[in-house]
């Protein structure tokens, strides 16, 4: 019998052996967090909101870092394609479904690790939350990552290994900026645009940790639409991708 779990295990092993991935996916948000939240660790009423700075930046960077990690994980497909790995995979009984499941699972492992590290970092700066709050926030953030898992796989199939780095960097930056990761979106037109992006809802999901209420109907619709749209396109890109890169 074929053994998809063993295959997934090697896929993870590869991921953990890739040092650059660690540094950029896991290390970068952590460094950023200490750089921003560290000096403000005693600020307990950020902008008059009653929210502590370490908590505010922890949830924001958990969302941003996880988005980055999940997108980047899919983007590695571009490098795999460039050495002909995907053509070789076509010559195995591996189903499209299993291929996507393993890719999404690997991306999620990276996302979850990023979130966990940020939580630990938050704790070192004195962040305290109710267990229910942690869980509600984490659960919604994980759902909010789904469109990015699909987008990462899509970009990994559309781009070459040379162009995928800058493309992912740019995508992350635009999503983060327009999604309100760095500063709240206030103007009306910007707000409309932001609400159409999955990154906005990912940030909203992380704000459950700040006592906000998560997503209404619009949020769920936007996240589901992006996930389905990107997944359909990714699947099509995978099906077409049998030629040399």
């Amino acid at each position: 019998m074929s053994n998809p779990l063993a295959y997934a295990r090697f896929e993870l092993l590869r991921t953990f052996r890739n040092r650059r991935l660690y540094i950029f996916s896991l290390g970068f948000p952590l460094v950023l967090y200490y750089a921003i939240a560290g000096p403000n660790r005693n600020e307990h009423d950020l902008g008059g909101t009653g929210i502590s700075a370490p908590l505010y930046f922890m949830v924001g960077l958990a969302a941003f870092g996880a988005m980055n990690a999940v997108l980047g994980s899919g983007a590695r497909i571009a490098a795999e394609r460039s050495v002909g790995w995907n053509r070789q995979l076509r010559l195995t009984p591996l189903s499209t479904r299993t291929y996507f499941r393993v890719k999404v699972a690997t991306a999620y492992v990276m996302g979850i690790l990023t979130i966990a590290l940020l939580y630990v970092a938050g704790a070192t700066l004195g962040v305290h939350l109710q267990a229910g709050n942690w869980l509600a926030m984490t659960g919604l953030v994980l759902i909010g990552l789904a469109p990015f898992a699909a987008l990462g796989i899509l970009l990994g199939h559309l781009l070459t290994s040379d162009s995928v780095g800058p493309a992912i960097g740019g995508t992350t930056a635009v999503f983060a900026l327009l999604g309100g990761t760095w500063f709240p979106i206030t103007s009306g037109a910007m707000q409309k645009l932001a609400e159409a992006l999955p990154s906005y809802w990912l940030v909203q999901a992380s704000h459950v940790g700040l006592g906000e209420h998560g997503w209404g109907t619009t949020g769920w619709l936007v996240v589901v639409a992006w996930t389905v749209g990107a997944a359909v396109l990714a699947r099509r890109a995978y099906a077409r991708d049998t030629q040399k890169v």
Binding site: M1, S2, N3, P4, A6, Y7, F10, E11, L13, R14, R17, N18, E80, V83, G84, W85, R87, Q88, L89, R90, L91, T92, P93, L94, T242, Q243, K244
Partner: protein, 304 residues
């Protein structure tokens, strides 16, 4: 046709668009490989071998014609794990050891070989723990071989399998192919080395410019492409006289020197020396695959 459990390619055509215009990579070929046979697809670079291999494996869809592998479409044979392939560029991921990469592949197949056995067959037992990104060209090629055979397939398709291997690895590689072939596996390998096709194939399919120009036992193909040319400095002898020598098919003059294309260079040489003892700087050379192909296909090229 149902009798063939192997491969059947019928009227295959494939054209690519490129900045320089359409490239007709494969121009209508028919190839049959029977179960248990070892067949070489021989031709110079650009003959359409790799495109044919891609279509045979279902990696590219032909513009026209049909592919049957074990009586069905290639996807079906691949899905059943019956096909192993060594592509020209493929199958070597970084950040894994030799053994891990082979085990990763094995995990995708229903009834794979024991990983150690696959490593042994591909002469990788000494370097099982080396990272794939630290392999030499020949070792990398052997790793591709292990990846292709670990699934214990019925058909192995090898595209230029020995490129980058040293003499020793080549010999070991072919002895493994023979061993597996003796167990009933079917092999199709693409190569541009006449010697390999001659030594290891039951049958040779000769390709040039996207067409099959000959298909037969190695001896027959060798007679076609293995012709030799005698060169000598020999002024003042009419070409017609040289063309009458036994074993000479064609004679050309370049200044003082002549070039004699031969079907039997041994006989031609003996007679040349007896009749024209003044001939100097005598040189006998294999015509080379490229030259042979050019000769074989010149007429067709003009027609195309």
């Amino acid at each position: 046709m149902a009798r063939s459990g192997g491969i059947e390619l019928r009227g295959l055509e494939k054209t690519f668009s490129s900045p320089a215009g359409a490239v007709r990579a494969v121009r209508g070929i028919d190839v049959e490989v029977h179960e248990g046979e070892t067949v070489a697809l021989l031709g110079p670079n650009g003959a359409g071998k790799s495109t044919t291999v891609d279509m045979l494996l279902g990696l590219q869809r032909p513009d026209a014609g049909t592919v049957a592998v074990f009586g069905g479409p290639p996807e079906q044979a691949v899905g059943a794990g019956r096909v192993g392939a060594m592509l020209q560029e493929g199958g070597v991921l970084r950040d894994l050891t030799v053994r891990e990469l082979v085990a990763m592949m094995a995990a995708l197949f229903p009834e794979p070989l024991d990983v150690d056995e696959a490593l042994r067959l591909a002469q990788l037992s000494e370097i099982t723990d080396r990272r794939s990104e630290r392999l030499s060209g020949g070792e990398r090629q052997r790793l591709r071989f292990a990846v292709a055979l670990v699934s214990d397939p019925d058909l192995l398709v090898l595209d230029e399998p020995t490129v980058g291997m040293d003499v020793e690895s080549r010999r070991a590689f072919w002895s493994t192919v023979r061993e597996l072939s003796a167990h009933g596996k079917t092999f199709l390998f693409a190569t541009h080395y006449l010697e390999e096709a001659d030594a290891y194939a039951d049958r040779v399919v000769l390709m040039a410019h996207g067409r099959v120009v000959a298909d037969g036992p190695p001896t027959e193909i060798k007679a076609i492409v293995g012709s030799r040319t005698i060169r000598a400095t020999l002024p003042d002898v009419p070409l017609e006289e040289l063309e009458r020598l036994t074993g000479v098919t064609h004679a050309e003059r370049h200044g003082e020197s002549v070039a004699l294309a031969c079907s039997n260079s041994d006989a031609a040489l003996r007679e040349l020396i007896v009749r024209h003892p003044e001939a100097r700087d005598i040189e006998v050379r294999g015509a080379g695959l490229e030259d042979a192909f050019v000769q074989l296909t010149t007429g067709e090229e003009v027609a195309a």
